[in-house]
Amino acid sequence: MQAILKAIEYYLPPRILDNPQLCEIAPNWSPQKIQSKTGIQERRISEEEELSSDLAVKAVTKLFESGACKPEDIDYLMLCTQSPDYFLPTTACLLQHRLGLRTSCGALDFNLGCSGFIYGLGMAKGLIETGQATNVLVVTAETYTKFITPTDMSVRALFGDASAATLITAQEPFDGSVPAIGPFVYGTDGRGAKNLIVQTGGMRKPVAGFASGGGDEDADEHVLTPPTLYMNGPEIFLFTLDAVPDLVAGICNRAGITFDDVDLFVFHQANEYMLRHLRDKIEIPPDRFYVSMSHCGNTVSSTIPIALKEAHKAGRLKTGDRVMLIGFGVGYSWGATMLRWAM
């Protein structure tokens, strides 16, 4: 048996933040400028009480409603998130119950960002092809916007909230010579940790105010500082210029393919301006390089499954097509794989 990607659904929260709204906060920007520099028209923002788990439930429910699988079919659930509901318990355990999955189902969270979908596919393939699981749900869900200071345009213009649910299932190989998922290339460089980080809220810098002041603003020895996302965009960009061309070369080498063998290239949808630059630098033909982020922004680990779903809906993917997936970002962490499209 081999692991195949059988179905994808995604969910975006309803509240929209569009470019004219952003310009009300930052009057020196224009909607056209934001669009041309990011490729984003609008991002979706979760409500205060709407958490990653809520987005995940919506995405997985769409998957069940599509008829791709039933709750009782799932024997392993993994949730990729950096905005979990709690330190503990594991948000995937909460999801098992809320989704009505059987209690014999394995469940875990894993903390990765923009590379997370690739790692999820790698783990799902490992579970299936070693006989540990048959139907694995790889769920990506983030509410990064809760980490964002409203006036920090460098991140507010980019990130949106979303969840995607992907079903990886065991199936007889339909083309024995090419794996349906794989091979994989991974990479990590923790020297870049400081360039995309939420510094507070973990054990190193617990959120001040909760412990001694109980959140009371009058307890003035501590100022309440909510966990806040910091991104050094130029450093991240420089990292991608170094890492991504090598990553693309690495996956081509490991798969024994050239660009001619790839029907569609789907990169992590970080920022369309950056993607176009990478595409031209690596000399990927524009007609085979898929971008789909204008309706939702950078949704971190959900960007690749969202782009795959949109490419499929737009008729850009047909059964048997070979797709290169490239993820890179926070960590730094990166990964690449090849898909044989099975939908």
Partner: protein, 82 residues
């Protein structure tokens, strides 16, 4: 690379009228300087001049000419090798 080419590339990046940016212009005072154009500047230097200048180095450049000197210094080994 000469100063004319470099200034032309900057005018195109910042989308400003010809003659707006000079060698002695203060880099971060160029109209439209922002986190987004900063990324665009790194992309332009990579694409047009084949150099990757670290963001910290760019921020230490006071004027356009300072940045031009960095680009020349960074591209020298390649030019010599060629």
């Amino acid at each position: 690379m000469n100063a004319t080419q470099f200034l032309a590339a900057l005018h195109e990046l910042f989308d400003v009228r010809a003659g707006t940016i000079h060698k002695d212009s203060v880099l971060q005072d160029i109209p439209g300087w922002s986190s987004m154009t900063f990324i665009g500047l790194i992309a332009m230097l990579d694409e047009e001049f084949g150099v990757r200048i670290a963001p910290g180095t760019i921020l230490r450049c006071h004027t356009v000419e300072d940045l031009m000197d960095e680009v020349i210094a960074d591209s020298k080994p390649a030019m010599m090798a060629a």
